[in-house]
C-alpha cells in the first residue's frame, strides 16, 4: 500500500500441525506444510471452510499454539511464544465482561506496566480513532455486537501492533453492521491512521476477502493445505457490483469447488468408512434440492447466486452441496450445482417416497450407514452400541470429528428409516425402522 516498503514481517516455513489425542498419541493432521509470508503494507486473507485449520494457523502466527513441524519467524527471530507486536481480534469479541470499555482497552497496556496516565491517554486516543467516544464507561453487555467488536479493535490497536490478526471478526455480526465495520476499518487502513503495518485475517466469506484483502490464500480442507494464492489488484474502495469484483468472486467459487469434481468420493476427507461427514439436517438437504429444482434455477444453479438468494455463506452452502453430491442427488462443478435424475425425482416425491429414496441412497453411497445396518442385521439382538462405531471411526479421524460424523449418520439414518438410535443407552437398533 502507498509508499510502505515490501519488507517481510512474518514468515512461516513448512508449518504442519498434528493434534494430540487424549491418549497422548499423535492424531489427525490439521495443517500440512504451510509456507506463507506476511509483508509490510498488505492485508492478507486466509480463506477456507470450517475445519480447514485456518484458525489454528492464525493462532500459530500469534504464538498461542506451537506447530508440530516447521518454523515461524517474526522480523527474523523465531517465534516461541506469544509475540510482542502482534494483536488479535476475535470472532466472539473476547471482552472481559467485568471491565468497562475503557478498562478493556487499557488492560493490555496496564499489565505490561504502562503507567496509569499514559495508558489512559493512549486508550482514549484508540477509542476516539475507532469511533467509540461516549461509550468509555459502558460495560460490554450493554453494547450491541458492532460496538463490542469496535472495543475489540480498539484493544488490539492500542498496543500498537505491527501485525493485526483477525479471526473472522465480522461473522458474528449482522450483515449491515458487518459492512459498516469493514468500511470503517478499511478507511483507517487506507488513510494510514492505524499503527499497524500488516493485517492477517481469517474468513470464510469470499466476498469479504475480495473486498478487503490484497492477497487471498485459499486453504483446502483436511488437512489444511494452501490450494491457491490470489492477488487482488483492485483499488480501495472496491465496489461489489464491479464486473471485475464479480469475476474474481466467481473465480474463487470455482476454485473452491473444482477439486471435488474429478474423483467422486474425494469430496469428504477419507474414503469408505473413514469418511468424515458434515452435520447437516435432512430438512436443509431437502430444502436445497427444492430450491435448485424450482425456477429460476430449474435444476442447475450458480453457487454464488444461490448463496445470495438463500442468504448462506460458503461455510453453510458447500457442505450441503457436497452432501447432495455424495448421495448422488446433485453434482457440483466449477461453481455450479446440478441436480441428478434422482435429485429431480426426489424433489417431486411425497414425504414417504422421499424417505425411502434417501434411505436407499444412504445405504448405497455412505459406507458408514451401510456398515451400521449390516452389523445390526447380523446380530441376533439387532442392537449395537455407538461406541463400537465411534472407536472404529477414531482410527481415521479425531475424536471430535468421529462424534460429529456419527451424529450425522444417526440423523440421516433416522430420516431414511435405516435404523433407530436410543439416546439413553447410546445404541443402535432395528426397532421400528419404518415397517411396523
Amino acid at each position: 500500500m502507498l509508499d510502505r516498503t515490501q519488507s517481510t514481517l512474518l514468515e512461516l516455513k513448512d508449518v504442519s500441525k498434528t493434534y494430540i489425542k487424549g491418549s497422548g498419541e499423535a492424531g489427525a493432521l490439521v495443517l500440512d506444510n504451510i509456507s506463507l509470508n506476511l509483508r509490510e503494507g498488505e492485508i492478507v486473507g486466509l480463506l477456507g471452510r470450517s475445519g480447514c485449520g485456518k484458525s489454528t494457523l492464525l493462532r500459530i502466527v500469534a504464538g498461542l499454539i506451537t506447530p508440530s513441524k516447521g518454523d515461524v519467524s517474526y522480523l527474523g527471530a523465531p517465534v516461541i511464544g506469544p509475540v510482542q507486536g502482534v494483536a488479535m481480534v476475535f470472532q466472539s469479541f473476547a471482552l472481559f465482561p467485568w471491565l468497562s470499555v475503557l478498562d478493556n482497552v487499557e488492560i493490555g497496556l496496564r499489565t505490561k506496566g504502562v503507567g496509569a496516565e499514559e495508558a489512559r491517554r493512549r486508550a482514549l486516543a484508540a477509542i476516539d480513532t475507532i469511533g467509540l467516544d461516549g461509550f468509555e464507561s459502558a460495560f460490554p453487555k450493554e453494547l450491541s455486537g458492532g460496538m463490542r467488536q469496535r472495543v475489540g479493535f480498539a484493544r488490539g490497536l492500542v498496543v500498537e501492533p505491527s501485525i493485526l490478526l483477525m479471526d473472522e471478526p465480522f461473522s458474528a455480526l449482522d450483515v449491515l453492521t458487518a459492512e459498516t465495520l469493514r468500511t470503517d476499518l478499511l478507511d483507517l487502513w487506507v488513510e494510514g491512521r492505524m499503527p499497524t503495518k500488516s493485517i492477517l485475517m481469517v474468513t470464510h466469506n469470499i466476498e469479504e476477502a475480495v473486498l478487503m484483502c490484497d492477497r487471498i490464500v485459499v486453504l483446502s480442507s483436511n488437512p489444511g493445505r494452501i490450494a491457491a494464492e490470489i492477488k487482488v489488484e483492485m483499488q480501495h474502495p472496491r465496489n461489489r457490483l464491479d464486473p471485475e469484483f464479480r469475476q474474481l468472486v466467481d473465480k474463487i467459487y470455482a476454485l473452491m469447488t473444482k477439486r471435488a469434481a474429478p474423483e467422486r468420493d474425494g469430496v469428504f476427507p477419507g474414503l469408505g468408512l473413514g469418511m468424515a461427514l458434515p452435520h447437516i439436517s435432512t430438512n436443509t438437504l431437502a430444502g436445497m434440492i427444492e430450491e435448485v429444482a424450482a425456477p429460476p434455477y430449474n435444476g442447475r444453479a450458480d453457487l454464488p447466486a444461490l448463496a445470495d438468494s438463500l442468504n448462506m455463506e460458503i461455510d453453510d452452502l458447500f457442505p450441503v452441496a457436497e452432501t447432495l453430491q455424495l448421495l448422488r442427488f446433485a453434482e457440483v462443478m466449477e461453481g455450479d450445482i446440478k441436480l441428478t435424475a434422482s435429485g429431480v425425482k426426489f424433489s417431486d416425491a411425497a414425504t414417504d417416497a422421499r424417505k425411502k429414496m434417501f434411505g436407499d441412497h444412504l445405504l448405497a453411497y455412505v459406507p458408514l450407514a451401510a456398515r451400521i445396518r449390516r452389523v445390526l442385521d447380523e446380530r441376533p439382538s439387532h442392537i449395537a452400541p455407538a461406541t463400537r462405531f465411534q472407536s472404529e471411526l477414531e482410527d481415521y479421524m479425531s475424536e471430535k470429528r468421529a462424534e460429529d460424523t456419527l451424529k450425522s449418520v444417526i440423523t440421516w439414518g433416522r430420516y431414511g428409516e435405516l435404523f433407530a438410535f436410543d439416546e439413553g443407552s447410546q445404541s443402535f437398533s432395528l426397532e421400528n425402522p419404518g415397517e411396523e
Partner: protein, 566 residues
C-alpha cells in the same frame, strides 16, 4: 458537602471498628488449664457473645477463602495435584466433620497450651470445615471453564500468572464463589453452635459466644434464655445478610459472563449508601486502588518465564517417570494412613464393634432416607405452587434461604422438652430434628426451579389443557427435577451431619438418645473414646459416600442430561 447519609455511615463504620477491636482483644487473653470462660445467662451479655460468634464465622470464612484460592488453583493448574486433590475434596465434602470435632479440639489445644487461642482456633477450624469444601469445588470448576477466547487474550497480552489470576480467573469465578460463600455461611451456623461448647472426656471448652450461651441455658433448663439465643441468631443473620452479602451480590453482578444485561438487578441499600456518600466512597476507592495495583503487578520469577515460553514438545519419557514417582508417593501415603487408622482402631475394637456400627449406621441411613422422602412429599408440591406465583415466590424465597441458614440445633432443646413431657419414643420423634434444618434447601431450590419454568411451556400446558395428574407427572415434576436433586443432595449431606447432634440431645441432666450412628459418635465423644469415634465416623463416611454415589449422582446426571430445560 456532608449530608445525613454521612452521619449515618460514620456511626456505622465507627461501630464496626470498635466491635472488631473489642472482640479480637478477648481472643488472646491467657487462661488456665480447663478452657472455660465465665459465662452468664444475663441477656445483656448476648450482643457481645453474638459479636464473638460472628467474628469466628468471618475468621473461618477468610480461612476458607485462602484455602479456596490455593487448593482449587493448584488442583486446576497441575494435573498431578488434581488427581489427588479433587477426589480428596469429594470425600471431605461427604465426611461428617462434626464427628471429628474432638480430634481437632485436642490438636489445637495442644498447639497453644494455656491460651484461649487454641480453643478459638479449634472452633474456627470446625466452622472452616463446614465452609471450605463447596467453595473450593466451585472455584475449581470455574477455573476449568474459563472461556477459551478470554484465556487467549490473557496469553496474547502476556499476562503473568499472577495477573491472569486476578484479571481473568478470579473475576470469572466470582458469582459462583459468592453464592457458595453465602451457602457456606448458612452451613457454618450449625457448627458454631456445636463447636463453642464441647466436652471431650475431661476437657471442657466454653468460648464466649451464642453456642456456649445456649449450652449453658440447656444445662440450667432456662427456656427464656434459649429463646433469647434464637432471637440473637436471627438478628445476626439478618444483619450480615444486609450489610455484607447484599452489597457483595449487587457488586458482583458485573462479573457474570452473559450476553445481555440481566433483567433482575440486585439491589442493596447499604451499597447505595456507600455509592452516594462522598467520604465513604473515598474510604472504598483508596483500598480498591491499592488492590488494583497489586493485581497488576507482574510478580514472576525470571527463570520461570523462560521455561514457560519453551513449551514445545514436553519430554514424554521424563513425564512418564515423574508420573510413576508421583503414583508411588501417593500409594505409599495411602498405605501408611490405612495402616495408622487400622492400628488405632484395632487396638481396642473387635469385629463385633464393627458390626454394631454398621447396624447403627443403617438405622441412621433409613432415618435420613425416610425423612428426605417425607420432606419431599410435603415440600415439593407446595414449593412448585409457590414458585409459579412470582409475587409470592419473591417473598417466600428469602424466607426459605433464611430458614436454611438458621441453626436448627438451637431449637433442639424444645424438642427434648416435648419428648420428655409426652414420653414419646425418641427413635421416632428425634428423627424429625435431622431434617429440621435441612429441608429448606429442598424448598428454595424447588421454588427456584418452578420460577425458572419457561413461560412458553406454561402457556403450552394451558393451551393444550394439560391438567391434574398429567400436569404434575409430565410437566412440573420433570421440570423442577434437576433443581430438586440439587436441593435434596444438600439436604441429605446436612442431615447426616445433623444426625450426630440430633440423635443425642440433652436438657439439664436429662439425656435422650435414639439408636443410630449419630448418638454412637456423640456418646463416644463425651466419653473421650477416640477409637470409637474414628470407627463411627469412618463407617458413617463410607455410608455417606455410597449414598451419594449410588443415589444422588445418578439422579443428578439423569436430571442434567434429560430434564434440564434450556
Amino acid at each position: 458537602m456532608p449530608n445525613q447519609w454521612d452521619f449515618l455511615s460514620l456511626a456505622l463504620v465507627l461501630g464496626a471498628f470498635i466491635g472488631i477491636a473489642h472482640g479480637s482483644h478477648g481472643m488472646t487473653a491467657p487462661l488456665s488449664a480447663p478452657v472455660t470462660a465465665d459465662l452468664s445467662l444475663d441477656y445483656s451479655n448476648l450482643p457481645y457473645y453474638a459479636l464473638r460468634t460472628t467474628l469466628r464465622m468471618f475468621a473461618a470464612l477468610a480461612a476458607s477463602l485462602v484455602f479456596t484460592f490455593t487448593y482449587a488453583t493448584l488442583a486446576a493448574k497441575s494435573r498431578r495435584a488434581e488427581m489427588v486433590l479433587i477426589p480428596l475434596l469429594d470425600v471431605l465434602q461427604s465426611v461428617p466433620i462434626l464427628g471429628f470435632l474432638s480430634f481437632t479440639v485436642t490438636f489445637f489445644l495442644g498447639l497453644f497450651p494455656g491460651s484461649t487461642l487454641g480453643a478459638e482456633m479449634a472452633a474456627i477450624f470446625a466452622i472452616f470445615t463446614s465452609q471450605a469444601w463447596n467453595m473450593a469445588f466451585s472455584f475449581y470448576q470455574s477455573l476449568r471453564t474459563v472461556p477459551r477466547d478470554l484465556e487467549e487474550v490473557a496469553v496474547g497480552f502476556h499476562f503473568s500468572p499472577w495477573q491472569k489470576f486476578w484479571q481473568l480467573e478470579a473475576p470469572f469465578a466470582m458469582p459462583a464463589l459468592i453464592w457458595n460463600m453465602m451457602m457456606s455461611m448458612s452451613g457454618g451456623w450449625f457448627f458454631v453452635v456445636a463447636s463453642e461448647a464441647i466436652s471431650v472426656g475431661d476437657t471442657t471448652i466454653k468460648l464466649p459466644g451464642i453456642g456456649s450461651y445456649l449450652a449453658l441455658a440447656i444445662d440450667a433448663k432456662r427456656v427464656d434464655a434459649v429463646l433469647a439465643a434464637v432471637v440473637a441468631v436471627v438478628l445476626v443473620i439478618l444483619a450480615y445478610d444486609q450489610f455484607l452479602f447484599r452489597p457483595i451480590v449487587a457488586f458482583a453482578a458485573k462479573f457474570r459472563v452473559e450476553l445481555s444485561a440481566g433483567q433482575v438487578q440486585e439491589e442493596s441499600w447499604v451499597r447505595q449508601v456507600f455509592l452516594r456518600t462522598r467520604f465513604l466512597r473515598v474510604l472504598v476507592t483508596i483500598p480498591a486502588r491499592i488492590l488494583d495495583s497489586i493485581a497488576l503487578l507482574r510478580l514472576e520469577l525470571p527463570n520461570l518465564e523462560s521455561r514457560h515460553l519453551r513449551k514445545r514438545w514436553p519430554d514424554r519419557a521424563v513425564s512418564r517417570i515423574m508420573d510413576a514417582v508421583w503414583f508411588t508417593v501417593i500409594a505409599a501415603m495411602l498405605g501408611y494412613s490405612i495402616y495408622q487408622v487400622y492400628g488405632f482402631v484395632s487396638e481396642k475394637l473387635t469385629l463385633a464393634d464393627l458390626r454394631e456400627t454398621v447396624i447403627l449406621t443403617t438405622y441412621t441411613m433409613i432415618r435420613v432416607f425416610l425423612l428426605i422422602v417425607l420432606a419431599s412429599l410435603i415440600w415439593v408440591p407446595i414449593s412448585i405452587l409457590i414458585g409459579l406465583r412470582p409475587r409470592l415466590a419473591e417473598r417466600i424465597q428469602p424466607l426459605a434461604q433464611f430458614l436454611a441458614a438458621f441453626p436448627a440445633n438451637v431449637l433442639f432443646p424444645i424438642a427434648v422438652i416435648l419428648v420428655l413431657k409426652f414420653s414419646l419414643n425418641p427413635d421416632i420423634w428425634l428423627s424429625g430434628l435431622i431434617i429440621f434444618g435441612t429441608q429448606w434447601y429442598i424448598v428454595f431450590n424447588v421454588i427456584g426451579g418452578a420460577m425458572a419454568f419457561p413461560n412458553d411451556l406454561r402457556e403450552a400446558t394451558v393451551n393444550y389443557g394439560i391438567k391434574g395428574k398429567y400436569w404434575w407427572k409430565d410437566v412440573m415434576l420433570p421440570a423442577v427435577f434437576p433443581y430438586y436433586v440439587t436441593g435434596a443432595l444438600t439436604a441429605s449431606g446436612g442431615s447426616w451431619n445433623a444426625a450426630i447432634v440430633a440423635e443425642y440431645v440433652k436438657w439439664g441432666n436429662d439425656r435422650i438418645s435414639a439408636h443410630g450412628i449419630g448418638s454412637y459418635i456423640a456418646q463416644a465423644t463425651e466419653a473421650g473414646d477416640y477409637s470409637r469415634i474414628v470407627l463411627g465416623v469412618a463407617v458413617m463416611s463410607i455410608f455417606v459416600i455410597m449414598f451419594n454415589r449410588l443415589l444422588w449422582r445418578p439422579l443428578f446426571a439423569f436430571g442434567e442430561r434429560r430434564l434440564r430445560v434450556n
